[in-house]
Amino acid sequence: MADTQDTIPVTPLFDRPRALRGYKMNKMANGLGNPANREAFVADEAAYIDRYGLSDEEKTAVMQRDWHEMVRLGGNLFFILKITAVDFIPITQVGAAQASMDHDDFLRDRLGKNI
């Protein structure tokens, strides 16, 4: 199978390679839309993640809340964002991590806020 060939720089399109690669991680994260799953995640994160058969690499990225790595491994923000419903992290924090920027710098330089 061909690797993802992004034609627009720094923009990962959720194409077939990414959808396939990230399927389990996205399924795990999307499950957090369900309150019982959120409880399970809070009670024993590793055990909850293991239900979905994630690789060690994927599991580590999730447990470290490494948003950049999660996307590299096929995570899609619409799904992995549900982890922030457990952690209560603002989306701009996730955005800053994607851009490898400090949060205030991200708000000012990317979003144009007066910081």
Partner: protein, 280 residues
Amino acid sequence: MAKLIGGVGTSHVPSIGAAMDRGATQDKDWKPFFDGYIPAKKWMADKNPDIAVVIFNDHGNSFFLDRVPTFAVGVAENYKPVDEGWGPRNLPDFKGDADFSWYFVDKLVENHFDPLVCSEIEVDHGLQVPMELLFGHPDNWPVKVLPIWVNTVQYPIPTPQRCWDMGVLLRKVIESYPSDETVVVMGTGGLSHQLQGSRAGYINRKADLAYLDGIAADPEKYRNMSREDYVETFGSEGAELIMWLVMRGCMDKDVKLIHKHYHAPASMTGAGMVILENKD
């Protein structure tokens, strides 16, 4: 026959709903955004349509990647707001119109569109937020809804041309529907934003402002753009703007731009709206 009373294009950013839920609409960050919707709400109240066709995408709330319809149409009598993971929101259920929905589905298939037909389904912020922005928070929604879901998450997403074509057909469907009801069509999503990758936080204010005028005066430009053009110009999630073309495709070539509003950023998104009316 039913009558099209106008088209609305609007953002559907979930943070807008969250801001309303925590009573933050008058905070300094949000007030300019919400103020721009006051004339739009008034327009909607004056027009007082019977049915709102709402075109939006799901965000992992009603569909997961196990099944991704390119287009889906709701034919239910009732749609509950979905809990997206942050807890249930205090919104009334949305009333559907099964007769009109099924009529639309019949016409779609006769005209070689093949949607997923949904009899039991919840609706996420893609529909909730535009409804709140245009109708406020009444005890019961004053219109029935016809939800149309467009896949804008997993590639391949439909082409801008295909969205436009659905709009052209939607116009015929409205104007051949045996009823004296009035219909507003709402294309939602955008404007520019990108949530993922190292370009996250990308907002293109200039392109957004041009789009708000151009969708009224020069829609050919946006119909002719490729999906890649949308992603490059408006960001990976800004490609949601293709959904406004369903609305624009159902309007006349020449329209009046009744209202336009832009504010950035709303959360991580360039946000705003237009109201269009046919010139008759």
